[in-house]
């Protein structure tokens, strides 16, 4: 069955399709909405999620999409140019920085990390752990909760005889990076055999579990009695809601502290003077009686030759807002995720790096 004038019909259809295509293409360039993709650290993700709605209200011409994929992905997608902002708790290694000298590591805030556990009946107590004890647990040298090494740090607490289930991150994780830095700084045999990184070869421990993302860690500890895990501070709301135990960690002065604003600020005050111009530095194991041992900069990994001039301008405007103490670095944002704003000296260094972003 043929239509009356088959050739004319198909010509109109073709013209219509071309017109539609041109219209959409023209429409896209006419709207000029800048698009920024942020991907990476699950520790920084909650902060970005409260930043973006506020920022978008005052800056309608930019659309920022956020993803929680792990610091490893944040670094690799920023290096490859897939994402404009790679969120990461870990700075680039020397080798990666040498391979990609155009990458900038820009701290946006100071965060910290908790050690959480699920001990039926004992989650209200803040059990004490030291770096060597945690290293022993994750190496499989300390297998039971009632081990004398743990009991020594927690006199008077009735520890159960169950097997410890250590939980680690399976994805490339900035939390793994800072946790293993703490273990490396405190336990020499860990430093020699395993060292630190966003991914490490976890020693084989019977029954150890892997989880993806900070939320995965929270869920796994919640579902698994007698487990222990390292979880970013921005998930304190979730761990408190699930009534998980929060540990006191031993700092360099030998005191046991919880991650509070005061202890994190004390550690920051002791360590920020060491920050170099490229801002790649570890803040782990600060000295000071009241310092919390696991704190870190939250980095935005940015390519300095970021695509076209428009994207570069959008990036700079956003980052300047994020670094501003009246904008993203305001206490109202930081308190919601238990972060600490950047000290003025570090903010100056970060601003200097933002200025390097050019089209």
């Amino acid at each position: 069955m043929y239509t009356r004038h088959p050739r004319r019909w198909s010509k109109f259809a073709l013209l219509g399709a071309v017109a539609l295509g041109l219209a959409t293409a023209g429409g896209a360039s006419a709207a000029e909405t800048g698009r920024l993709l942020e991907t990476g650290s699950s520790l920084l993700y909650p902060l970005f999620n409260i930043w973006v709605p506020v920022y978008s209200k005052s800056h309608a011409g930019v659309q920022i999409t956020t993803q929680s994929t792990g610091s490893g992905t944040g670094i690799s997608e920023s290096v490859s140019g897939l994402a404009q902002i790679g969120a990461s708790d870990a700075y680039l290694s020397n080798a990666l920085e040498k391979q990609h000298p155009e990458m900038l590591n820009i701290p946006l805030a100071i965060s910290s990390q908790m050690v959480n556990y699920n001990l039926p009946g004992l989650n209200g107590e803040h059990l004490r752990f030291s770096g060597p004890v945690l290293a022993g647990i994750y190496q499989g040298k300390i297998t039971k909760w009632s081990d004398p090494e743990i009991a020594k740090l927690n006199p008077g607490v009735k520890l159960p005889d169950n097997t410890i289930v250590p939980v680690h991150r399976t994805d490339g994780s900035g939390d793994t990076f800072i946790f293993t830095q703490y273990l490396s700084d405190t336990a020499p045999d860990w430093a020699k055999s395993i060292a630190y990184g966003t991914t490490i070869s976890w020693p084989s421990v019977n029954g150890a579990l892997g989880a993806e993302g900070n939320q995965g860690m929270v869920n796994t500890v919640n579902q698994t009695p007698y487990s222990i895990a390292y979880i970013g501070i921005s998930f304190k709301g979730a761990t408190d809601q699930d009534k998980l135990g929060e540990a006191m960690l031993e700092n360099r002065a030998g005191k046991f502290v919880l991650p509070t604003d005061a202890t994190v600020q004390a550690a920051a005050n002791a360590m920020v003077a060491k920050t170099p111009k490229d801002e790649r530095v570890s803040l782990i194991f600060a000295s000071g009686a009241n310092s919390y041992p696991i704190i870190n900069y939250e980095y935005a990994i940015i390519k300095s030759n970021a695509g076209d001039a428009h994207t570069a301008q959008d990036l700079k405007t956003f980052l300047r807002w994020a670094l501003n103490s009246g904008g993203g670095n305001a206490a109202s944002f930081m308190q919601q995720v238990s972060f600490v704003p950047l000290p003025a000296s570090v903010r100056k260094l970060s601003d200097a790096q933002v200025a390097k972003i050019g089209g």
Binding site: S76, S93, V165, T170, G172, A195, A208, G210, T220
Partner: protein, 320 residues
Amino acid sequence: MKFRTILAVLAGLVPASMIAILAFLAIYAWPAVDFNGISFLGGMQWNLGSLYADPVNVGGVDILPGAGYGILFLIVGTLLSTLIALVLAVPIGIGAAIFLAEAVPPRPRLWLSFLVELLAAIPSVVFGLWGYAVVVPLMAHDVFPAMAQMLGWIPGFGEPTGSGFGLLTSGIVLSLMIVPLIAATLRDAIDSQPAAVRESAAALGATRFETVWRVILPGLRPILIGACVLATGRALGETMAVLMVSGNALNTLPQTIYAPVSTMAAFIASQLDSALQDPTGLAVRSLAEIALVLCIISIAVNAAARLILAGFDPRDRRGA
């Protein structure tokens, strides 16, 4: 003539793409194959090395200090989870096929078969999420402790029962994904048997069950084997569902049936962004080597299945 060449080119694209994929994988993974050698298949340590140390040169190849790649735990995890899936799925699949072909009147048979085949249409990530939300807690709190108590005397079935994430849970979720393959294929085959066979069996005094079990099924053995091998191929390559319920064990072999494992496909998916952190690139190429091994195993299994199934026409009764 022109139409024929166009058809030939288009048809040729399919095997050409399969060869292209294999070739790409082999070429991309070659530096890793060269570096890892045969200890890749037998080694128990997957170690990216010290990511934040400077690369060193070992035998002409730049690697991170401490890097070494061995995937024995992955091969064991893949084979064991597939084995458990088959042990669970084959009896259920045969039972479902017999039930659907024999015991159900024609009208409901259509709908029930439809439902069984729809099970195969559920995306694997949905299975994974259901497994994570429902199966894992159920196993951890109720089923595994009961199993450990009743079956604890069998080696590998005793305490500790773990957290629900592990080998047996992966096997259960995988078996649900491959049951429709076996049940649908076998039910079609049983249905297509000529009525004369059933009538002669009935004439000899066989019950309905005896007819199916002793007369029809033995003749369909090649089809059953073919369907099972096809199901094995599917289970071997299953990624998302296993990733979410297997516990993601690293560098350990499971001590009990409840212990966490890792399979090759799930490992590649979960380790890719970590591997991209390696400035020498060897980690990504080693992942490609895992992909190559998995590809070869999968192709071999599927080829075997197709050959077995192709050489058999259910209407052509030989033997039995």
